[in-house]
């Protein structure tokens, strides 16, 4: 490899470090992403320049197809569906890494005596973990897209099948080192797919984002191992960076939800969760029409909005912002309380409200606003549920127990805008709905907010 190529690769590796650094600060995030993209493009062009590659037209066509698919997917996706898009992108990356390792195995198998055992082990790792990441991501995609139930899926004997698959994968990994053949590699890949499916099936819907982050870290490590096999420094550094930061980010996210990663992955298997049946409750609640709620809001001094995923699904962010603008014009102090995991992923709600051009200053993070609920006249909960569910504080054993919540229950009045009495994504009932201070406004969020807006304007 010419020296200039090695130097370009070094520069690309540095750019990936700078990209991650940039992405973790609000001012530098966009630049960081562009730096990463530029480095990736340069790194991919380099082998076309210095190597005499075969099949160049076919490869360029394949890159064009993938690029078109990626761009169209990324541009068309609604911001509400973005988590599953990230899962899908992650999955195909893992799949690509597994295929690359299989091809390397195909190259190495005939003269495996010249190949170090460590290289073969790294190849086996890439095939296995890449397949796990691929299959696991597809299942997370299906769960978030609601192509399948978002509830934990468990069947009797799942732990045994899972354990057997892991043991078999380890055995095949050892066989790959001692006597590598492509057949072993293919079987290893298929086992990886099975393990990936079994790993994600028992995870409950609310925890899926953390699993996406974990699988993201898996793919990173896979790419790093692939880099070792191909003796390519860019793949090694970029993959390791993503693997390490992804693992750390997974732990940060889990902490923000008050969960441990082991609990998320294996909690349902231990039968420790007391998930409700997910059916609508028929206990009595107090509901009211838009006009009554408008009076509550219109004459309040302090209002806090708790937005949730339901708001975004109904595409009602703009109407909500108009309502808030009218209330502010009437002299009411209004803020949005943003739970760290509001939406489907940490930070998701900030993206969704930013899309509706809600001013940044009105978005207040949980820790800052939690003390203010007791001085608040009305809390308006729009399409949120789990993030204000007191069960997180009071019910040990509930799937969300230990998750920090917004103290909406401390306000004088709580208004829930809901489509139905169905429980939230975590699948548990919310006691706050039955609180005497609570009023419910049933209906589609956009529709109800529109009526509420007109009623407030008419006051």
């Amino acid at each position: 490899m010419p020296t200039w190529v090695q130097l370009v690769y070094l520069a690309c590796a540095v750019c990936f470090i700078l990209a991650l650094k940039g992405l973790s600060g609000p001012k530098t995030a966009r630049t960081g992403n562009l730096v990463g993209a530029a480095a990736a493009v340069v790194a991919v062009i380099v082998p076309f320049v210095y190597l005499d590659l075969d099949h160049v037209p076919l490869m360029v066509a394949a890159i064009a197809v993938g690029t078109a698919g990626g761009v169209i997917g990324a541009r068309k996706v609604q911001m509400t569906q973005m988590p599953q898009m990230v899962a899908l992108f992650n999955g195909v990356g893992g799949g690509a890494a597994a295929l690359v390792a299989l091809l390397e195995l195909h190259e190495m198998a005939p003269h495996s005596d010249d190949v170090s055992w460590f290289t073969l082990a790294a190849t086996a790792f890439t095939i296995l973990v890449g397949s796990i990441s691929f299959a696991g991501s597809i299942i997370t995609f299906a769960k978030l897209q609601e192509l399948m139930t978002s509830r934990p899926v468990i069947f009797p004997g799942l732990p045994i099948v899972f354990g057997a698959a892991v043991v078999a994968a380890v055995v095949l990994g050892v066989l790959t080192v001692t006597g590598p053949t492509v057949t072993i590699g293919v079987v290893l890949g298929l086992l990886g797919l099975l393990i990936g499916v079994l790993l994600v099936l028992p995870v409950g819907g609310a925890d899926v984002p953390i699993v996406i982050s974990l699988l993201n870290a898996f793919t990173g490590l896979t790419v790093a191992a692939g880099g070792y096999v191909l003796s390519n420094i860019v793949l090694l550094v970029a993959g390791t960076l993503v693997g390490a930061s992804g693992t750390y980010l997974t732990m940060l996210m889990a902490r923000a939800m008050g969960r441990s990663v082991t609990n998320i992955l294996f909690g349902a298997l231990k039968g420790g969760s007391t998930l409700g049946a997910g059916v609508a409750s028929d206990r009595p609640v107090r509901s009211a029409g838009p006009e009554d709620i408008a009076i509550l809001l219109g004459y309040a001094d302090r209002v806090i909005i708790v937005p949730g995923y339901g708001l975004a699904v109904a595409q009602a962010q703009h109407t909500l912002r108009e309502l808030v603008d009218v209330l502010i014009a009437r002299g009411t102090k209004v803020d949005y309380a943003i739970h760290p995991v509001a939406g489907r992923m940490p930070g998701h709600m900030n993206v969704l409200l930013a899309e509706a051009q809600v001013p940044y200053e009105q978005l207040v993070e949980m820790d800052e606003i939690n003390g203010e609920f007791k001085h608040t006249d009305v809390v308006l909960v729009v399409g949120a549920n789990d993030v204000v569910n007191p069960a997180a504080k009071t019910t040990p054993g509930a799937p969300i127990y230990g998750m920090p919540i917004l103290n909406a229950d401390e306000a004088e009045q709580i208004v829930f805008m809901k489509r139905s009495m169905r429980p939230g994504f975590a699948g548990i009932e919310n006691e706050l709905l039955f609180d005497p201070k609570t009023t419910l406004l049933f209906g589609d969020a956009k529709d109800s907010l529109g009526k509420l807006l007109n009623a407030v304007k008419a006051l």
Partner: protein, 107 residues
């Protein structure tokens, strides 16, 4: 120094760098950061090009081309979707004068 040890050294140092550079991220940026990191591992496209461009086996060529398509989706799609997310964070910096005209597009 054994070559494998050199690679191991790079690996271990990269682990620490990877954790260090993101250690101060606020929860607001968790999603874009995850998405950006996701795009970076799309660099496996480089690996796919290296193995596909040196194979002389037809089956391997087809598998390699599939890997290239998948990796390109990961890399390009990942960076584009991250940029779309971040665009929304930065757009409010200049604080647009809440014009009703600019609302229509996003809805």
């Amino acid at each position: 120094m054994d070559e494998a040890v050199v690679w191991l050294t790079i690996f271990v140092l990269s682990v620490f760098v990877g954790i260090e550079v993101i250690s101060k991220v606020s929860s607001t940026l968790h999603t874009p950061l995850m998405s950006g990191a996701n795009a970076i591992h799309g660099i496996i496209l480089l690996g796919a090009v290296l193995v596909t461009g040196t194979t002389d086996n037809d089956v391997a060529l087809v598998v390699g081309l599939v890997a290239i398509v998948l990796a390109a989706v990961n890399m390009v799609g990942g960076f584009v979707v991250t940029d779309r997310m971040l665009q929304m964070f930065t757009r409010r910096k200049p604080k647009p004068a809440k014009s009703a005209a600019s609302d229509g597009g996003a809805a």
